[in-house]
């Protein structure tokens, strides 16, 4: 668990529409210095007396330690339910309480090995910052961006700035190659000889990326998105089955032990029909006749 975290009454500096998403910049003094790519921030929604109590979590897209507004934080928000609609409706100078950085960041390789970064929809938000950190270490970086349609791609221009090469896929073929990210991923991994595939996006995509990466001898590092009530490790709602170094599967909190996990350690077999079951071999799994 990374120790440094701040809770701050942020102020909206900018809220721009980008395709199907909103790019939000808020003041968050002290957060930038602590944050690393792959970590997330938890936003309170609806104001101080809101009846919507639970925090909404977003990958940190970018941070700036200093500037006109002091430290700031950028996130990319897809309007989905009431909480994200409230956030995307914020105007400059509106107040929003932010907690972050939270969770474990993407681990960076010790050597300058080639890396491939895969983002699905807004899942690309944390990747450009990661790409820059990797390139600073001398890692060649290629990015694969996928989405249902062109308006749901995020950051294609930014990707071109932060990576050596960018590949785009859309399900409907409105931009780039028609199909899923996995339609091009195998070829990219093969050609680059990538040692690591970093991915952020829907769970089904993370699972597919893990499979393709494993088949090509690359390690998948995936940032998951589980339903979270607190984001800070106190409620146990965000758990998922992950196998540890000792080979034992436990239901671990994705907000503190994740959101980044080694893809081959996630028990994908437990996820089906929108539910994640507790594998029978997990520590403390229910036994016959009750718990």
């Amino acid at each position: 668990m990374s120790a440094g975290v701040v809770q701050t009454p942020g102020e909206v500096v900018a809220n721009r529409r980008v395709g199907a998403y909103h790019h939000l910049t808020v003041t968050a003094p002290g957060l930038a210095e602590l944050a690393h790519p792959g970590q997330f921030a938890a936003f309170a929604v609806g104001g101080e007396t809101s009846a919507t109590l639970l925090r909404r979590c977003f990958s940190i897209h970018r941070v700036r330690p200093t500037g006109t507004y002091g430290g700031t934080l950028d996130v990319v928000v897809a309007a989905h339910g009431p909480g994200t609609q409230w956030l995307t409706g914020l105007r400059t100078h509106d107040a929003v309480d932010v907690v972050g950085p939270l969770g474990r960041p993407f681990p960076l390789p010790a050597d300058p090995v080639p890396c491939v970064l895969v983002g699905g929809g807004y899942g690309s938000a944390p990747l450009f910052w990661l790409a820059e950190a990797l390139r600073e270490r001398g890692c060649p970086v290629e990015i694969v961006l996928g989405a249902a349609s062109e308006d749901r791609l995020f950051g294609v221009v930014e990707a071109r700035r932060s990576a050596d090469r960018v590949h785009v896929t859309t399900d409907d073929g409105s931009a780039g190659t028609r199909g899923r990210v996995t339609a091009v991923l195998g070829e990219v991994l093969e050609r680059t000889g990538a040692a690591v595939a970093y991915a952020c996006g829907p769970m089904a995509m993370l699972r597919a990326v893990t499979e393709v990466a494993s088949a090509h001898g690359a390690v998948a590092q995936v940032a998951v998105e589980e339903s979270m009530a607190c984001g800070v490790g106190v409620c146990m709602t965000c758990v998922m089955p992950v196998t540890g170094n000792d080979g034992v599967t436990r239901m671990v909190r994705s907000c503190v032990e994740g959101p980044v996990f080694r893809g081959d350690r996630v028990r994908w077999d437990a996820f089906a029909d929108g539910i994640c079951r507790v594998p029978d071999d997990a520590v403390g799994a229910p036994r016959a006749g009750g718990h």
């Binding site: 975290v5 907690v99 339903s227 009530a229 146990m236 709602t237 436990r250 539910i275 507790v278």
Partner: protein
């Protein structure tokens, strides 16, 4: 300066604000936001004998001013708990109210025995028996729904916890007569009562047209349940004041988000207050509620927090 201290069955706490079991993990996480030693007591996540994985996910559904959860008492088991979590709290100098549960009354006793034997037990200011969990020996019926089962658990826990360390029983509001269960617990030796645990509920996902929680039912908590908590505290304290059951301190919990919310429970008779779900909204909530409650006590012009405990019973206008 207001005297915020409170006394729970002989144990004096510097202030009446606590975390609520299962809403604060075991201290390390919240200690990043405020020193957990600032609180009157830190209440740990209910611990059972063996490690437990808990329920499948989704485990939560947001509701108006609240949420449903079906965590399923996930935890590391008592041995790992005392070695890692309790030891950490003891090192910090926290005052700890340890929440325990068992699948059977005997298992409660086993958990408590291991707790008491631990070197970190010195930081324990009380044991909270979470009897709002299913009794495997009684077709899974929640202990606290049945006065006889409640009594059995409290009796076993009380005999295994050393004299001078209070045992409090945590009750569910999902009963016809909470006073009857409170009475059974107090007569079996409970030194205090915590009220309330969550209320059973179901949320239907209107896109999938099926229950949103993988476990189907979950416990409702948050500001939405506060009037139920105030009512439960009120009824039990009123019965004590009328002499219908022995007097014992009550810890109020349910929907506290602000110092004013806490004051409602206090005025209804709670000598201490726990902050649960509000912590998910604001990780500093327990500490903030303490500061706000202190301001509320001062606003009412009294010097001692204790003077406000149960005051609404005296001020009530009898029609």
């Amino acid at each position: 300066m207001v005297d915020m201290s409170t006394t729970l069955a002989g144990t004096v706490l510097p202030n009446p604000v606590m975390t609520a079991s299962g809403c604060a993990a075991n201290g390390k996480e919240l200690n990043r936001f405020f020193p957990v030693t600032d609180l009157g007591a830190f209440v740990t996540k209910t611990v059972m004998l063996d490690p437990r994985s808990g329920r499948p996910t989704p485990r939560m559904a947001e509701t108006s001013s609240g949420m449903l959860n079906s965590i399923g008492l996930q935890g590391p088991g008592i041995d790992a708990f005392v070695e890692h979590d309790l030891a950490w709290l003891a090192e910090r100098g926290a005052r700890v109210l340890v929440s325990v549960a068992g699948n059977t009354a005997e298992e409660f006793g086993e958990v408590v025995q291991r707790l008491v034997a631990s070197p970190a037990f010195s930081c324990v200011v009380g044991v909270e028996a979470n009897i709002s969990c299913p009794n495997v020996a009684n077709r899974g019926l929640v202990f606290a729904c049945d006065p006889v089962s409640s009594e059995q658990v409290v009796r076993i826990v009380r005999t295994r916890v050393p004299e001078g360390v209070p045992v409090v029983a945590k009750l569910t509001p999902d009963v016809t007569d909470i006073v009857a269960v409170a009475e059974a617990a107090v007569r079996a030796g409970a030194d205090g009562l915590t009220m309330i645990n969550t209320l059973l509920g179901i949320v239907i996902d209107t896109d999938l047209l099926r229950p949103q929680l993988a476990g189907v039912t979950g416990g409702l908590s948050g500001p939405a349940v506060r009037p139920v908590a105030v009512r439960a505290v009120w009824q039990v304290v009123a019965a004590m004041r009328e002499g219908r059951l022995p007097t014992a301190p009550v810890i109020g919990v349910g929907g506290v988000r602000t110092g004013r919310d806490a004051l409602e429970l206090v005025a209804a008779g709670a000598a201490a207050v726990q902050v649960g779900t509000a912590t998910f909204n604001d990780p500093s909530a327990p500490r903030r509620v303490l500061a706000e409650l202190e301001a509320e006590v001062a606003r009412h012009g009294v010097d001692r927090f204790a003077d406000l405990v149960g005051i609404a019973h005296d001020r009530m206008v009898r029609p």
